[in-house]
């Protein structure tokens, strides 16, 4: 009994103080940390690859007119897996090291929206007959199960641009 207690005491005393001073001192994540997924809107070509792979289904794509594609990201659903950054052909999405992402200003901080200018095909103006594969991934139950049907509480009403 005494021997066991002594062993436990040594085990407890040896490491000394291990508590970090965070948040009073910064504590940066190591390695290729997957934090806030930052979108470089200048690089985005609006291909929708990120929307197709996102397991949390937080990216909605709308074609407003022939030349404008809107990307809406509902970041409160983000699980920080980084699949969007993996598949982006233009490296427009970067998983940053930012992890202190709490907000006190309501849900509008969680919604990011950008509009991408889409060039029109000179030959046919519309290469794919609707429904295109892109329309397909926006169908309920496929990708966009909850996003569009937010009703009155839809977080998409107050929109902040990125």
């Amino acid at each position: 009994m005494i021997a066991s207690k002594l062993k436990e005491a040594i085990l407890s005393l040896r490491p000394g103080r291990v508590t970090l001073k965070y948040p009073f001192e910064p504590h940066d994540p190591e390695g290729d940390f997957r934090g806030y997924p930052e979108l470089d809107t200048d690089k985005c070509i609006g291909c929708g690859g990120c929307a197709a792979v996102c397991p949390a289904r937080l990216i909605m794509i709308q074609d407003i007119d022939q030349n404008t594609r809107r990307l809406v990201r509902l970041l409160e659903r983000c699980i920080f897996c980084g699949r969007c950054a993996d598949v982006c052909p233009e490296d427009a999405i970067t998983m940053t090291k930012r992890f202190e992402l709490s907000t006190d200003s309501g849900r509008e901080d969680m919604v990011a929206e950008c509009e991408v200018f889409m060039a029109t095909c000179q030959r046919c103006t519309r290469c794919y007959e609707p429904p295109t594969p892109l329309d397909r991934i926006m169908e309920p139950g496929f990708r966009d199960d909850e996003i569009k049907r937010g009703g009155q509480d839809s977080p998409y009403e107050p929109v902040k641009s990125e």
């Binding site: 009994m1 066991s4 207690k5 062993k7 436990e8 085990l11 390695g31 920080f80 139950g141 909850e146």
Partner: protein, 533 residues
């Protein structure tokens, strides 16, 4: 014996009642039988072929086959075979014989199958609702394809789950709805006579923290169904991550166990030892707990050769300190008196009710998926089954302590033998539809089981999951019987349960013996809690 031979045995025994059987490799058997022979076949597999019950699932195949598909899954651990028993049920008369009277472990999953698909298990001894909310409509079965996607029935106030009545003369002690020591939602009604527990009722669900085991098991099932060859290096990386997860989980658990019995030194020291491991996982995967590394076909991130030493240093340090801790515990009477002889789960009960993982191994059942049904790189590594047969809380503690040290050895071996090469298989075409496969992974808490039926457009048509806590919690009521009330928390804790179900407040009036359940509104009014929205 392999899957083909087992299928022939079943065919020979039951003749025309076996409609068809097929195999996948030498270790997976799919038998389709006529509905009237379900109980016989289940009993035969369970009693004569030494199979262990895994789970039951229902699939709406009215579009393809004009039938509901009811499937019972079994495992034959000695022969390394998983068996699926399919039965097609007519949609006009959705009922099927319950196998719970002959295979007690099927109790919860048959109830769940009824909740989800609406096929009545005829003859079930306890057909109460299990998984749906109390105000969910009686005739709406969410897994049927004619139920609209995302349907939200209006809430109804004042309903309560059906509960088991305590035995004559016993009182009810509610533990929960917020389980006080695990800080998670769980709700037990413990029936006591004086200080002694005479029974218990529990309604709760699922296990979710082991992130890597589920993604790994799911990916393996899809890969198996679609015939995708995973590169060997990816298999080793999966193995290493699975063992790191086991280390992390067992260390966390031992700390919690110490906390439950009021010995917080154990909690603080094991969690201190564990923290460098969490940082290691962050360096490898990009996150300390949700590794997010598995994809169908392999893994997303490599463990680069320059990281090997980092991994070795971290686990060696843990191994040293863990061995010291393990050396101190057997002599510490504070711990031993709380653990020894309490929470007895006999070998027979553990088998009857389908216990898994350290819970089963602490009761003398030598089952471990890593050895019995090898996956990833485990067939090339040395894995020891850590078994204790004293059946008490101490046995479950010792099993986990030994497994932790064994995991460190496995990681070393995997790092030494890991081959070079790609980490993802090339998948160019859409995965084939209509194929099925089973896959299991030994999670820290026990066997995780996944069955996938592939569908079109690279999506699963049906996916059935069984987490280990689902099996283990069914063992709680028999285990609590005969214990003192004070030993209940550690006994429940010794399963390493992982809850994610909420329950409601039950109040027992000591004078009248009346039991009432508060609705959410009443509860909030009583405690004046603001609704956080």
């Amino acid at each position: 014996m392999n899957a083909q031979q087992l299928g022939e045995n079943v065919k020979q025994k039951f003749g025309a009642k076996v409609i068809d059987f097929e195999t996948l490799g030498s270790d997976q058997l799919y038998v389709t039988i006529s509905p009237d022979s379900l109980v016989e076949v289940a009993e035969y597999l369970y009693r004569n072929e030494g199979c262990r019950y895994v789970i039951n699932g229902g699939t709406d195949r009215r579009q393809q086959r004009d039938a509901f598909l009811i499937t019972h899954f079994f495992a034959q651990d000695e022969e390394k075979i998983y068996v699926a028993i399919h039965t097609e049920v007519e949609p006009d008369n959705p009922q099927v014989d319950s196998i719970t009277p002959v295979v007690p472990a099927a109790n919860w999953s048959e109830r769940e199958t009824y909740d989800m698909i609406g096929v009545v298990p005829v003859g079930h001894p306890d057909p109460r609702r299990l998984v749906l909310a109390d105000d969910w409509p009686e005739d709406l079965f969410p897994l049927r394809y004619d139920v609209e996607h995302g349907v939200k029935p209006p809430p109804v106030e004042g309903l309560a789950p059906e509960r088991l009545e305590p035995p004559e003369g016993a009182s009810v002690v509610p533990i929960g709805p917020y389980f006080p020591v695990l800080e998670e939602p769980a709700y037990f009604r413990v029936f006591v006579e004086g200080e002694t527990v005479v029974g218990a009722d529990y309604r709760g669900f699922y296990c979710g923290i082991c992130g890597y085991v589920h993604s790994c098991s799911y990916c393996q099932a899809v890969e198996r169904a679609a015939g995708i060859e995973v590169p060997e290096r990816a298999e080793y990386i999966r193995t290493i991550m699975l063992e790191l997860e086991r280390l992390e989980s067992h260390m966390l658990w031992l700390g919690i166990a110490g906390h439950i019995i009021g010995f917080d030194t154990v909690l603080m020291q094991t969690w201190r030892m564990r923290e460098p491991l969490m940082w290691l996982c962050e360096r490898i995967s990009g996150n300390r707990k949700t590794y997010g590394m598995n994809l169908v076909g392999g893994v997303r991130r490599d463990i680069k050769p320059e990281m090997y030493d980092d991994v070795r240093n971290v686990i060696d340090k843990i191994g040293e300190e863990w061995a010291e801790l393990a050396g101190a515990i057997p002599g510490d009477t504070t711990l031993i008196t709380r653990l020894q002889g309490t929470g007895i789960l006999t070998t027979e009960t553990a088998r009857e009710l389908g216990a898994a993982g350290p819970t089963a191994r602490g009761s003398g059942l030598a089952i471990d998926v890593r050895v019995d049904h090898p996956y990833a790189a485990y067939d090339r590594l040395e894995v020891t089954k850590c078994v204790h047969d004293s059946c008490d809380n101490l046995a479950r503690v010792l099993v986990r302590i030994e497994e932790t040290l064994d995991s460190i050895k496995i990681i070393h071996q995997a790092l030494d033998e890991m081959p070079d090469g790609p980490i993802m298989a090339e998948i160019d075409e859409e995965l084939p539809a209509g194929r099925q496969a089973m896959s299991a992974v030994e999670a820290p808490r026990g066997e995780v089981f996944h069955w996938v039926l592939t569908g079109t457009e690279n999506r699963p048509e049906r996916w059935r999951v069984r987490a280990p806590t689902y099996a283990n919690l069914q063992n709680v009521p028999p285990m609590l019987e005969g214990n003192a009330l004070a030993d209940v928390p550690i006994s429940i804790g010794s399963y390493d349960p992982c809850f994610s179900c909420t329950e409601r407040m039950e109040v027992v009036d000591v004078n009248s013996g009346q039991v009432r359940v508060y609705t959410e509104e009443e509860f909030r009014a009583e405690y004046d809690q603001p609704r956080d929205e």
